[in-house]
């Protein structure tokens, strides 16, 4: 095994910590630095205990460590606003940013669908869309790879406990961003996204429904095969990604019912929506790392 690519994680909250747990298992990525803004943060303490260097003065205060440690990839799990500043500081140092915020400075990336097409060797910033996007766009793409999809709609249902204040304050950003990526990455002519937050206890596991309207009569066999092949690709990095029902064919409509159970690394199992984001971000970074190693 060639040398691992060194990575920093910005944002030692739930997402950043779950990502750290996953990255510690990676064959390609070595997490070396956790960057936060609060010296008393539990997440920073946890990262230090796991052997990472830490910095509590934001990215500005961490630049010397980034250089000294040879960090080549940075995961940003802060906010869209903070990401802009982080990006301005790190991109000139040649660090590739994997952006889990809604900032979308870089192109949308749903790894099994479009990462290879994004030219990973040259990328300096990729955006991970939204949790709902990561869960559903592979299936929209699975259908649109077979035949023209004139309209695709996704419904993401997530447990109340797994939705943080940032998403709540700007829930329109979720619907807009996801709908836009259903079109640009999923390959549908028109996209729509709906998010439902459910407070049931015990919390429900993330579930997603994908409806596609094909321009012509759906080729049932080809679409079913394509959906099952895509399922395997996503399961390679999200083991709890499951096809519950479908594809169901009704006229030109194709419906796919999914469930996403998290691995429970740091976040609870029901929070498949958060798990699929951290898993997709790490998977993206691992593919980028292969180009950096080469």
């Amino acid at each position: 095994m060639s040398q691992k690519i060194k990575a920093a994680i910005i944002g030692p909250g739930n997402i950043g910590t779950d990502l750290l747990y996953k990255a510690l298992r990676s064959e390609q990525i070595e997490p070396v630095l956790m960057i936060g803004v609060d010296p008393n943060s539990e997440g920073l303490k946890r990262a230090a205990a796991l052997g990472l260097q830490i910095c509590a003065e934001g990215v500005q205060g961490a630049l010397a460590q980034v250089r000294q440690l040879g960090v080549q990839i940075a995961f940003d799990a802060t906010s869209a606003y903070a990401h802009k500043g982080n990006c301005e500081l790190l991109t000139p140092l040649g660090v590739t940013m994997v952006d889990l915020t809604p900032a979308a400075i870089g192109p949308f990336c749903v790894p099994p669908v479009n990462l290879n097409a994004l030219n990973p060797a040259q990328l300096d910033n990729v955006n991970m869309v939204t949790c709902g996007g990561q869960a559903t766009i592979p299936m929209v793409s699975a259908v649109s790879q077979v035949q023209k999809v004139s309209y695709a709609e996704i419904i993401a249902t997530v447990s109340s406990r797994s939705v943080g204040p940032g998403t709540r304050q700007n829930i329109d950003e979720f619907t807009r961003t996801t709908a836009s990526a259903v079109e640009s990455v999923g390959g549908a002519d028109k996209g729509k996204a709906i998010i439902i937050i459910n407070p049931a206890e015990p919390p429900l596991i993330m579930r997603d429904t994908v409806h596609c309207l094909c321009a012509d009569t759906p080729d049932q066999q080809a679409i079913t095969q394509s959906v099952l092949a895509m399922l395997e690709k996503v399961q390679a990095y999200v083991p709890g990604y499951r096809l519950k029902n479908g594809p169901v064919f009704d006229g030109n409509k194709v419906s796919i019912y999914l469930e996403v159970e998290g691995r429970g690394d740091f976040l609870p199992h029901y929070a498949g929506n958060l798990d699929i984001m951290t898993a997709a971000a790490l998977h993206t970074a691992e593919l980028i790392a292969k180009y950096k190693q080469a």
């Binding site: 709540r168 700007n170 829930i171 329109d172 709906i194 459910n198």
Partner: protein
């Protein structure tokens, strides 16, 4: 119960909640005729949109016969005195829809969330208030939480800028005592400038009784629907409520005979099915399930041979909330395959 001289603002739902019962297929002509009839009867507020609110047009909830823009543009210019409201569910509709509705002349925006998730409404309530619209926070499925929890969520909406807060019995599950308790606490604890509203469904035939309890406990705005046209067993039938309020000496501003005629001559003839407490609608009220699931469960029964009542009971057990219509088909498929196995 003494409601003498209590002043009530009635709000008609037939052209929004009624869209559920019509699979969102009300024609522009029907919309305009009913709205005009209600306007002439003195109805102060009329809601017009897709059943699931602005932006509800979808495969999940059903594509409507016309867009929200078309319905609002057709109805609003015809109104003499009635104001038109639009519903918006964050997660389905966005602030772009809200701006569109305002530009078309909507006077009142009702931002609806599940009763524990009020904090997703901050941007929509904030913008609506900033635009100078009558801004309502609409807490759905209110039977699922205590009065104290409902108040906590109502206070969030008040802080975002709402001038009216609704206790919404989306499942038609509540009984009058619960309505009294919830409305009473909201009235006692929210600012005196905040109006309190109640939205009922008739699944346990409690629409009128619950509305009276709400008024007695301090609600100023009451939702209902002419001829009851709405999801489940419908909303509180407004012509009935008006007759009752009339007898009790409450002030409502509606011409009873005119609204009776709108119900009988315009709304009943266009119903696809009688709006009544059939066994499935009754199950909604009994099991505490979102009323617009009714027709979806009936369709799943027809397609997969699984009882709609069994589907609805199971949805209730799982704590399903408004908007989860996609769960019905998924669950029916599971139930059908389990039956094959056994």
């Amino acid at each position: 119960m003494n409601l003498k001289d209590k002043s009530v603002i009635l709000h008609d739902m037939s052209l929004r909640d009624g869209m559920h019962a019509k699979r969102h297929q009300i024609s522009l002509e029907q919309m305009v005729n009913i709205a005009t009839g209600l306007d002439a009867a003195g109805m102060p507020l009329i809601e017009v949109t897709h059943g699931d609110g602005l932006g509800g047009a979808s495969l999940n909830y059903g594509f409507p016969a016309h867009s929200d823009e078309e319905y609002l543009s057709a109805v609003i210019p015809k109104m003499q005195q009635a104001k038109v409201s639009a519903l918006l569910l964050p997660g389905i509709g966005t602030v772009d829809h809200l701006r569109m509705a305002k530009d078309l002349g909507v006077s009142s925006i009702r931002v609806a969330t599940h009763c524990t998730e009020a904090d997703v409404s901050e941007q929509h309530i904030g913008l609506s208030a900033k635009l100078g619209l009558d801004t309502v926070g609409f807490l759905m499925m209110a039977h699922m939480v205590s009065a104290e929890k409902l108040l906590e969520q109502a206070k969030l909406m008040e802080a975002y800028g709402a001038n009216c807060i609704y206790c919404t019995d989306s499942a038609g599950y509540m009984l009058p005592d619960e309505v009294s308790q919830k409305i009473g606490l909201l009235r006692a604890e929210l600012g005196s400038h905040i109006e309190i509203g109640f939205h009922g469904h008739h699944n346990l035939a409690m629409g009128v009784a619950n509305s009276l309890a709400a008024i007695e406990a301090g609600a100023k705005r009451i939702d209902g629907s002419v001829a009851g046209l709405g999801a489940g067993a419908g909303n509180t039938p407004l012509e009935v409520l008006v007759a009752v309020l009339e007898r009790m000496g409450a002030t409502h501003g509606i011409d009873l005979y005119k609204i009776m005629d709108v119900a009988e001559d315009l709304v009943v003839p266009m119903m696809d099915q009688p709006i009544r407490v059939d066994r499935d609608a009754l199950t909604l009220g009994y099991a505490g399930v979102y009323s617009s699931f009714l027709l979806f469960a009936k369709r799943a029964e027809a397609r997969h041979g699984v009882s709609a009542r069994d589907i609805l009971v199971e949805l209730g057990k799982r704590g399903t909330v408004g908007g989860q219509e996609d769960m019905i088909e998924d669950l029916a498929l599971d139930m059908a395959s389990q039956r094959k196995l056994s």
